[in-house]
Subunit: 216 residues, 2 copies
Amino acid sequence: MTVNTPAVRGPAPPPGITPRERLLQAAVEAFAEKGFTATTTRDIANRAGMSPAAVYVHHDTKESLLFTVSVEGHQAALAVIRTAAALPSAAQGPAPLPGEGDHVARLRQMVREFSTWHAVNSRVGRIVQYEFDALTPDHRAEIADYRRQIERVMRDVLSVGIADGAFDVADVPGTARAILSLSIDLVRWFSPRGSTSADDIAQLHAELAVRMTTPR
Amino acid sequence: MTVNTPAVRGPAPPPGITPRERLLQAAVEAFAEKGFTATTTRDIANRAGMSPAAVYVHHDTKESLLFTVSVEGHQAALAVIRTAAALPSAAQGPAPLPGEGDHVARLRQMVREFSTWHAVNSRVGRIVQYEFDALTPDHRAEIADYRRQIERVMRDVLSVGIADGAFDVADVPGTARAILSLSIDLVRWFSPRGSTSADDIAQLHAELAVRMTTPR
């Protein structure tokens, strides 16, 4: 994983995190457990070991906390897929590879990393998806823009690969969205206590994305 | 569409629906607009043009209304995919077709119908997914069983097709889930006012599912 924001990543708060990070972690825990509507600022303050007044120093509303969780989640997911798109394979280093293998390796890496991120961060992913309507219209528009940026990375990689003959895709926006759906739908059903590992699912999704896009 | 439950289908209540159906439609509207937690039984009663006391005749709790919406939604989705699995192509009638085309046509039909259902019922789909944790543990278990039945239909169709040489799929449960994810993730982003029609998306998903499963 390239992006490691404590509020978005781990179950246990590491020692020495900042009050801001502690607050975001507490918000994620409270929203995940009780839902956004039933959570009070006091709940979050208690979980973070802070006074409600101290919470207001960082966030003047509960919605502002949800928005920050959403922004950080989307920024992290966008960074993961952008990094993977720039590096066809971590083992092969930063230099772009020539030939068709390049496009396929890049797509595989993008889907693998994007699915892994959604499996590892399924709790944050659920909050961000399920409570989207609780954001203000301006904040919803900002989050929608992150989503469009993520789709654009996938569309661009498909388009470049089509031009090189590596992919055979008639509907680029629709196929880009469908590939991303495999990863995003993980937040609905993936459990770290389930029988299938995040790595195995990410590997499967990468193979299915290659099947969806390469010439028959 | 094979299943036509008013509370799960249409935006406008047709004249002459039963009080039970009117109540479920009102619950769907209220949950979609305000979320489950912020909705009161009185909200639902008002929308249905009933007294709160009349609501209690049908449902003793708000959770019971959510559960009924969830059960009907899952039953409808299960019926859609089961019907499509039994009939490889609506145009070809109920008799099963011989040969490999049978399996591919059946899969295509299943995915097309399942995606269409999720696009048309995206509002109910969002409620059912996003408010799943608001159900009682017993009710969550019942809904999880419907989800397993839907996955089983897809797994069975893939397995029979593999045995006949029509499909080449190494991970049947994982691939079945991935195919279903294309349809299910529609409830997150599909809008009837968007630029892409439900038919076009359903057709694309069917083609992608065939690519994911047929031999290279």
